[in-house]
């Protein structure tokens, strides 16, 4: 048994986090020493929280040291729980912060997934305001951005973030660790209103099955009714070859993504800006996803200073057939949305098709025609989506049928 354990971080550059050390003692009750940047404002609340946590874990005799750099309560809770887990004193219990009402919204299979913002799962300061930047999806990452020794800490922190942070309508996504290790992450996520699980380095349909089975088991245990969606990420030659079986592996797959950093290494080359080396894989992903009826999603653009490069990259992805792009800095989000927005020509065409469809419906006609051309149902569906995207991108007023102009012209 460990006598002492610590969790979290301290130091002059640390913000919105804390460091806690618990040393178990045989007697003498709880000795608590703290140093907090917000002592004058929340000192008493912090004391109370620590006492509550120790009572929850039934720790009666210990020396506690806390160095707090302005951590929010859910962060202090996660750090305390991590330290207790490292002491193996958690008795299998999880210390859950209150589930906020605003975390309860649902997602849909077909929602836009143009931008997905990756956030390191063990770094509270980037999570807190991420939703304000209005990405389509927020990914709390347990995989590559978390050091191997901090996986347990990130599990607690991500779980608490899922229960406490307002993502303002963004899809609530988590990237778990590679299978099989990632299966252990699920118990920290599934009961806490996660929408979509990203399955990294996915190479076979069996890996998706494994995740789906594990998720179902937890859903039954916890009596959960909302579906959990999956987005497998293809990051290897084998994954690219198996793209279609992976895309169709689960009825809850909603998107198929490609991760080029690992993919290019796997095929023995390097990423270039022209991207010729990944052209086949990207097309493969687009076709597999479309064949499976799910969204093809492109890789991350990781140069946060190069907005023109990002715009070009999104336009290229869009031309290849992708519906979304990954990003790592909130300022990339508006650029991505703008580049995915339909052109005026596309909007005009979609308007005509949608109006023709609605006219046909109101006249009880089963065939939609525009001029002398017949319009097939998939084209109508595509046009409706273009209109929705145009409205969402601020290029078309929601009352466009009444001749409303774009928002910006008021």
């Amino acid at each position: 048994m460990n006598l002492s354990a610590e969790a979290g971080r301290k130091g002059p550059d640390i913000r919105s986090d804390c460091w806690i050390k618990i040393t178990l003692t045989n007697s003498g009750g709880i000795q608590f020493e703290k140093e907090s940047k917000v002592n004058a404002l929340y000192g008493a609340a912090i004391d109370e929280l620590i006492v509550t946590g120790l009572t929850f874990f039934e720790i009666e005799h210990a020396q506690i040291e806390l160095i707090d750099s302005g951590a929010l309560p859910f962060v202090i809770m996660a750090r305390l729980e991590t330290a207790v887990r490292r002491l193996k004193k958690d008795r299998g219990k999880q210390w859950l912060p209150e589930l906020k009402e605003f975390c309860r919204y649902e997602t849909t299979r077909d929602r836009f997934r143009r931008s997905r913002l990756y956030l390191p799962g063990n770094e509270p300061k980037f999570m807190i305001n991420a939703g304000l930047h209005k990405p389509d999806g927020i990914i709390l990452d347990l995989e590559d951005s978390v050091a191997p020794g901090e996986k347990d800490a990130a599990q607690c922190l991500v779980r608490n973030a899922l229960r406490q942070l307002n993502f303002y309508g963004a899809e609530r996504m988590v990237r778990i660790n590679q299978i099989p290790r990632g299966l252990e992450d699920l118990i920290y996520l599934i009961p806490h209103h996660v929408h979509t699980i990203l399955i990294p380095k996915c190479e076979t349909a069996e890996q998706v099955h494994a995740v789906a089975d594990a998720v179902d088991k937890i859903r039954i245990e916890h009596h959960l009714s909302a579906p959990i969606f999956f987005m497998p990420i293809i990051e290897s030659a084998l994954g690219a070859i198996n793209a279609y079986p992976i895309a169709t592996a689960s009825a809850n797959n909603v998107a198929l993504a490609i991760g080029l950093e690992d993919y290019t290494a796997d095929i023995g080359t390097q990423r270039t800006s022209e991207g010729r080396e990944s052209f086949w894989a990207r097309c493969q992903i687009v076709n597999a996803a479309r064949a499976a009826g799910i969204q093809p999603i492109d890789t991350v653009f990781s140069d946060v200073t190069d907005m023109d490069g990002l715009r070009q990259s999104v336009l290229e992805a869009r031309a290849l057939g992708f519906d979304g792009k990954g990003c790592i800095h909130p300022r990339q989000i508006p650029v991505i949305h703008e580049a995915f927005a339909p052109t005026q020509e596309e909007i005009d065409k979609a308007r005509k098709i949608v109006l023709a469809f609605e006219a046909a419906q109101s006249q009880g006609l089963s065939v939609v025609s525009l001029g002398s051309k017949m319009i097939d149902p998939p084209v109508v569906k595509r046009a409706q989506r273009t209109i929705q995207l145009a409205i969402d991108s601020g290029k078309l007023a929601s009352n466009w049928r009444q001749g409303g102009a774009a928002y910006d012209q008021n």
Partner: protein
């Protein structure tokens, strides 16, 4: 007004001392309510017969100059802060004073910086009695801990001019560090190795002090052109090897923020200016030096280009971005109070449309009008704002002195004052029930822009109407506050402060707006 023995409750509901440093003080009465009577202060009559006919006023060193100026116990010594954190002169003044053996001096800087920490030694030894000017860093902590003997008096740049003009502060000796000067005392800030742009904060000092000493490291033959400071006010000139650290004169405040949240706030503020109809041809604006304000100017520039709109004038703090806009023709004039980077210095030196100003033209309560109220929109920072739109800019939420007032109070008189601020920092709520220290009355603060929404002061029905159909997230301040408290884990405790008043905040007219109390945890 209820009057107790030591404290008076002012119109803002704040308890303020009835006497400050032994002299009676006037409590704040409301915006524009106080009008002192009488005549302005003036220095003693000088006669040119007492000065060298050849115009050579050079004395060998600072110590001789101070002795010649008649330095005595209890005198008030003033300095300016155009060198910001790169000032090498102020510390030497008090070192020299210590050598001379005087004590109980009052230091009256236009602002102090962390580089002035050595003055702590002179506060401890008694050479300096107290500081009347903004304090942060080690000096701020010393004052907050209650260790300074007198009460610190915090004034705005305009309030400093007002206090000199109406005789509240009499400067015995002004020491003016000047990047370039001639032996007659004509001086400017645009040339020389320590160029800082202008010397506007020292203008009142030059005109009203009994004795004026110019200190320079770049002596030029008469005439020093331009003469931002007139040698006709100057008694002595001292030449030194080095008066400032150029790299610190233009300090890091000119970096654009990379924080996504601050960029979002800046963008929302710029879009508000557009949606409120303020952004139109011939408009004017002022943005401070912080990262968010700089980014605001850049977002505004993009909107101006998009709309084909030009600004008639911009009030500086100038920086490379404003200079670029001036040179691109997006701005007709920069009316500059201080330059924040070398591009600002260069532009002021070369471009006749980049004009140096002073608190006299822009901020002074005893002027016959001033420029700040002509500005269409100003964006400023704050450490706290309360639900009545009152704002704090000088203390941290735990009561410690953090910033000076600068031109902040004076700028509130703009036609639209916007504070773009985060709703909380780490776990420190910025939107609160009541500000720790009142620096700006809510009636002058029009719009609060946070990452969680924009609140418009209910007094500004015109702005509310103008943005009724805007797609911006406009909400009430109470709503934003409630959200912040939910995130931070409840209402913050009130910090334990007092009982000693360590500093007071003056309003622009010289009345006392609020008291700053001792922070006991610092002792």
């Amino acid at each position: 007004m209820t009057r107790t023995k030591e404290f008076v409750k002012n119109t803002a509901g704040r308890l303020v001392p009835a006497f400050i440093n032994g002299r009676p003080a006037i409590p704040y009465m409301g915006v524009g309510k106080y009008r002192p009577q009488g005549r302005k202060a003036a220095p003693a009559i000088a006669s040119c017969a007492d000065y060298p006919a050849d115009g050579n006023k050079i004395v060998p060193d600072l110590k001789s100059a101070l002795i010649k100026a008649g330095i005595r116990d209890g005198m008030t010594i003033s300095t300016h802060h155009h060198f910001r954190n790169g000032d090498l002169v102020a510390n030497q003044i008090f070192d020299a004073a210590a050598e001379i053996g005087v004590k109980d001096l009052i230091w009256f800087p236009s602002a102090s910086f962390p580089c002035h920490a050595p003055i702590l030694r002179h506060l401890e030894s008694g050479v300096v009695h107290h500081i009347e000017g903004s304090m942060n860093g080690p000096l701020g902590d010393y004052c907050s801990a209650g260790k300074m003997r007198g009460t610190a008096v915090l004034r705005s740049h305009g309030g400093r001019y007002q206090a000199v003009q109406d005789g509240e502060v009499h400067i015995d000796i002004a020491v003016i560090a000047a990047p370039t000067a001639d032996a007659f005392g004509n001086a400017n800030g645009v040339m020389g190795p320590s160029a800082c742009g202008l010397l506007g904060f020292a203008l009142a000092d030059s005109q009203y002090a009994d004795k004026v000493i110019i200190v320079t490291d770049n002596l030029v033959p008469f005439p020093c052109i331009p003469w931002q400071i007139h040698g006709n006010y100057v008694d002595m000139v001292v030449v030194m090897d080095k008066i400032g650290e150029p790299s610190k004169i233009v300090s890091g405040t000119t970096e654009i923020t990379r924080s996504p949240d601050r960029l979002l706030i800046a963008e929302l503020a710029a879009r508000f200016v557009k949606d409120a109809g303020i952004l139109k041809d011939g408009f004017s604006f002022q943005a401070g030096a912080g990262g968010t304000s700089l980014s605001f100017a850049i977002f505004l520039r993009d909107l101006m280009k998009e709309m084909g709109v030009k600004a008639r004038f911009v009030r500086g703090g100038s920086n490379q971005y404003l200079v670029q806009m001036l040179e691109e023709g997006l701005i007709d004039y920069i009316l500059d109070g201080q330059t924040f980077d070398l591009e600002g210095v260069r532009s002021m030196r070369e471009n006749p449309r980049h004009v140096n100003t002073s608190p006299f033209t822009s901020y002074n309560y005893h002027g016959k009008g001033n420029f700040s109220s002509l500005v269409d929109v100003v964006v400023l920072g704050a450490t706290e704002v309360d639900v009545h739109f009152n704002a704090n800019v000088v203390t941290h939420s735990d009561g410690r002195l953090l910033h000076g007032i600068g031109g902040w109070q004076n700028c509130l008189f703009s036609k639209c004052t916007i504070l773009p601020i985060p709703s909380f920092r780490d776990r420190i709520p910025v939107i609160v029930d009541e500000v720790t220290t009142l620096c700006g009355p809510g009636e002058l603060i029009d719009v609060i822009v946070t990452e969680r929404g924009i609140a418009i002061n209910p007094l500004r029905q015109d702005l509310i109407d103008a943005t009724r159909h805007s797609s911006l997230p406009i909400r009430s301040l109470q709503e934003i506050k409630a959200e912040v408290e939910e995130i931070c884990g409840g209402k913050p405790q009130r910090p334990q402060l007092g009982p000693k008043v360590v500093a007071v905040v003056k309003w622009v007219d010289g009345t006392v707006l609020d008291s700053i109390y001792q922070v006991q945890t610092l002792t």
